[in-house]
Structure formats: structure tokens, C-alpha cells
Subunit: 337 residues, 2 copies
Amino acid sequence: MATIYDVAERAGVSPATVSRVLNGRSTVDGELVARVQKAVQELEYRPNAVARNLRRSRTTLWAVIISDVGNPFFTSLVRGVEDVAQRAGYSVVLCNTDEDIAKEGRYVSAALEEQMAGVIISVAGRSANVTRLIEAGTPVVAIDREIAGVQVDTVLVDNAHGAELATTHLLDSGYQRVACITGPRKVSTAAQRLKGYQRALRARGIAARDALVRYSDYREEGGYEAMASLLGEADPPDAVFVANNLMTVGAVECLVDRGIAIPAETGVVGFDDIPWAHLVRPSLTTVAQPTYELGRTAAMLLAERLAEPTRAPSTVTLHTQLKVRESSTRSAERPRQ
Amino acid sequence: MATIYDVAERAGVSPATVSRVLNGRSTVDGELVARVQKAVQELEYRPNAVARNLRRSRTTLWAVIISDVGNPFFTSLVRGVEDVAQRAGYSVVLCNTDEDIAKEGRYVSAALEEQMAGVIISVAGRSANVTRLIEAGTPVVAIDREIAGVQVDTVLVDNAHGAELATTHLLDSGYQRVACITGPRKVSTAAQRLKGYQRALRARGIAARDALVRYSDYREEGGYEAMASLLGEADPPDAVFVANNLMTVGAVECLVDRGIAIPAETGVVGFDDIPWAHLVRPSLTTVAQPTYELGRTAAMLLAERLAEPTRAPSTVTLHTQLKVRESSTRSAERPRQ
DNA sequence: CTGAAAGCGCTAACAT
DNA sequence: ATGTTAGCGCTTTCAG
């Protein structure tokens, strides 16, 4: 591979001048610029980014740390990040933690060692890993999930509000015993969505019963099992609010397997859309999140912080939207969609 | 950030010795090892990977270049790559091209400039971009799509065979005029799947008619439009084989919008599963690909080539599987699944 | 077994 | 405006 010295020699200038031409910062004589560009072409010169990064002590890599690449929620989000990153001249390194804090820790170490320019993270658990990044001065944006006790730029959705809407909608549809399947205890979205569910019940003067709440893992199998467990109750629910998309699919599968009719016997609303919710029969009522926008917003916050490291961290909350479809509406009221 | 010199000083040894301890290559006196480790702990020393990469002139980054992060086919594949990569000590940089050759070119440049250790790519079009990588000596593994005229490790599925099975199955189900919606002309999988479709027709002595073939873009909207176009034919099809998952969803939506019953009036088989094909009503018959295994296999090939750069390139072909569900079986024969 | 020293390729003072 | 030069942090000969 040709180096900057080879180019300099061929163009009859110093390496510094080549560097100047390449980076277009300082002003260089037009004639020299032309010679350098010609030499670059002829030698098929390609700058060595590693050397540049070492010298500048910063890279053009962003780490995006998420818990499940298989979940369309996260892929849509990553896409939002990616689009902004590319435009701003950064590349995205994808890090999949499977909700595993140790794995998250390894990725944080890698981000630190690789001197990554910034990190966008949906945290798997407590804040320890994020603290390491902050102490090292790496800009961090929290996405989807809040990080307790740490001041960082954050992009969230109105989880409690969305959950409340969903639950209220089920009650409005005439369901009496509305259950909730939420996510892992440590995850902020799980807590917030549960809180919204409870708030909706309270608003109607209904006592929240622990027997109708399950904590699960945000995975399809977890949703299936939680639903099965709810159906095992002495007084089983006639509707369920499920706190993420994959668990909703699992819960629906469980109901289908048991021959329980949706929505006639049991109503279902899921938090977060799935790509083909409208093709599923009955089509699924969901609390849709602006997933792509979440990613875009986080990326823009990161880009801004990189440009202006000292400004105070901000939290952006995006809005969810209840998409009423068939799974939550008993015969009387049909959804318009 | 502490450097290797700080550690050396604190441990009372030379930087070279610290390096040896850290990399565990050369044998170092036990007492010195202990002192170095202690110093590393106390200083919370973290090696600078950028400096190491420059010195070693190689990195621990892999680029995975795909055409659509939004497609579950690719995310599952990426996950397979990721799992192997992490275990082998590499990180994965995700590059989304949107089937855009210019964008692909930019990612290839980035991979070259960042001195990435290897590239796994599902090519958007012709081989020019890949040739640049090969000329620079960067190991490349082609995944999902073949690269014409270039010798590289390759992981594919039996596209023509899968398409043939799908088409034959439709004919067996009693459909007479089976159409095909395939992908972009330049993409090898589109050609292969079309070929399998044609082969199945020929085997039954049916003439393949251009009027029943559409080239589209592997996207949902493209599938919708292609289906609409087919329905506009004087003699419209009574079944369709669709060459990827997203276009299948689009085609189904089109049929639903037109009030055409699946499978009674029109049968549908798609190539590549979608995650919730069984929840869709009618559930979708698909040619399932071992997506995760595709990724895993490509990653293993890359890891092997990195370990042994001179061995001859190999091509691995994985098998598809026809999953018969409701969308392709008229009342008489019910699917068992 | 350990240390000294060179150098990976680039950029940014500094000097001219 | 251009060139000279030091050095980013690490690894790896080469000596000892």
C-alpha cells in the first residue's frame, strides 16, 4: 500500500502538503493541489485510517449496543442511527448483548480500547458499564432505556403513557380482568410500562392484582410461558397487555394453541409494533413506537455532543401511538383500520 | 488514559516487558508478571487498540456489508456472523447498502481505510467493489449472492432447487398458471430462483411465459406492484412464486386489497421465511433458508482464511426447506403443519 | 529473560 | 504557503 510519503515524493511536495490537500483544511497552491491529486490517482493511494486515528486520538466509529439484533424494534432503530452516522462520516459497529451484562461489559471494553468516538446504548441492566465509558470521557447516548443515576443524553418514548392508553383501551372494549406481561425487572421500560398499566386500572377504580402480572424476558418463548402461567390462574384474565413485540407474538401463539379465541374470549394489546401486525389474523392492536426516529434522534444527539462536548445532557421523549386493530375489539366495536 | 509506559514505570520494568505480559507470547519471569499485572490493575490500564493496530498493521474488525438491515433475513444472518466473530475476538461493523452500488463502494473504501481484517458481503451488483478488496489483500467472503468472475470463499443456499420445489408444489396443488416475481436482474439469487421456477414448469411440459414473470426489487412495495401488474394481465395467474420474503408480504397485501382469496383463488409461496409466517392468516408457505447458519458459516470461513490465508477458496451450499402452510394448498389437501 | 530503540502512517506544531 | 520534524502508543527486532 502506498503511503503519504510515496504520494509526496511523486508529487514533489512534502508529506505535510499532501495531508493538507487530503484534508482540505489549510489552503494550498492550486498547482500543488493538482499534482498531489494526480499522484494520489496514479498510486491509488488510500489513507490509512488507523494511523490517522492514532495521531488524532479519535476514530470515526460509533458503537451501538443493543440487547437483541433479532428484534425488529432494534433493527429499525439501528437503521435510523446508521443513516445519520453515514451522513456525518461515522461507521456503526453493531454490538448485540442478548441482555447479558457480561457481554455488554466486553463490548464496552472494546469500545474503550478501540477509542470509539461515541456509544449509543440500550442498557442491559445497572449503570456500571456506562459509568466506565463516562469516566473515560466517551460520549454516551442512552436509547430506549433510562440509566439510573447517570447524566447522559437520552432518547425515550412515553412508555407509561403508551401502556396506560393500551390498558384503558382494553377496559373500554369491555374486558374485565386485564393482565400484564412485562419485561425484566431491571429494565426501565418494563417498569414504566407496568406502571402505566397499573395507573390505567387505578383510574377505573380497579385494584391491580399481582396474580395478573408476570415479569418475563422480552422474548417470544417468555411471552408464551407467561401467558400459559396466567391461564393457569384460578381466575384467569380475559385480556392481556404485553409489554413488548416478541412476547406479544408468544402470548398470541399460546392462546391459539389453547384454542382461546382472540378477541372474543381474550383481548390482546402489545407494546411496540411488529412489521406485519396487520397481516396477522386477527390483526394485532399495538402501541407503535417511532423506532426509526428513536435511532435517528439518538444519532443526532451523539453527533451534536461530539461537535460540542460541554453542553448539558438532554432527554428527548418521543410519542407512541395506539394502533387499534382486531385483537382488542369485541364484535360490537370494529376497528376502523 | 494510562499508557504502557506508565505501567512499565510503576512496575519497574520496560514497556517491552509489559507488552509481553499483556500478550502472553514470550515467557516472562513470574515475579515481573505479577508486578505488571498489579500496575495494570492500579492504573486501570487499557491498551490502546488503535496504536496496536497501527503497529501490527491489522485490526480486529470485520465489515458485514448487506443490502437491507430491515430485512429479517439479513439480521438473522448478521447474528450468526456476530456470534462467531465475538468468540474469535473480532467485532462486527454493520454496513447497510440499500442495494446501492455507490453506497457499497463507500463502505468498501471505509473497510480498506480502516484496515479491516475481513469483509463478509452480499453484493449489490457487479464485482468491481469486491475486486478492490481482493487487490488490497483483504479477505472476502461472499454470502447469499455469488460474485461473477471472482474467486472467493462463498456461502450460498440451493436457490434454484428451492425455487423449483416451491413451483412444483404449486403445480401439485392444482394451480395452472403459476407466475413468478423475482428480484433485481443483477442479483444472482434473483436469476437462480427464476431459473428454478422455469425448470419446474419445463419438467411438467409447461411453457414459461414472460407475461407471468416480473423482475422487482426485493422490497415490500415492489412485491405489491409486481402482483398488481400480474393481475392486470389478460390471462392473470392463479398462483405466484415470490422470490423473497418482503416481496411476498407485498404480494399478499395486494391480493388482500383486491379481495382475492388465498389460497382458494390464488396460491402463494414465498422464498425465505418471515418470522411470523405461521401467525399470518392464511399462514404462508415458504422456502425457509438457514439464515443464522449462513452467517455462522461465512464467519467461520473468514476466521479460517484469516488463520490460513493461502488455502484455496471454497464454496459452501446450504439447504433450503419447503415449509408447506396454508397459502398454497387448496381445500382438498390441508397442510399438516 | 529483559531492555533499548526503531518505526507503523499520519498530522500538527513550528520554522521558514 | 510550504517544509521539517516530533510523536500518537504500541510491538518487535536486535543486543545484551
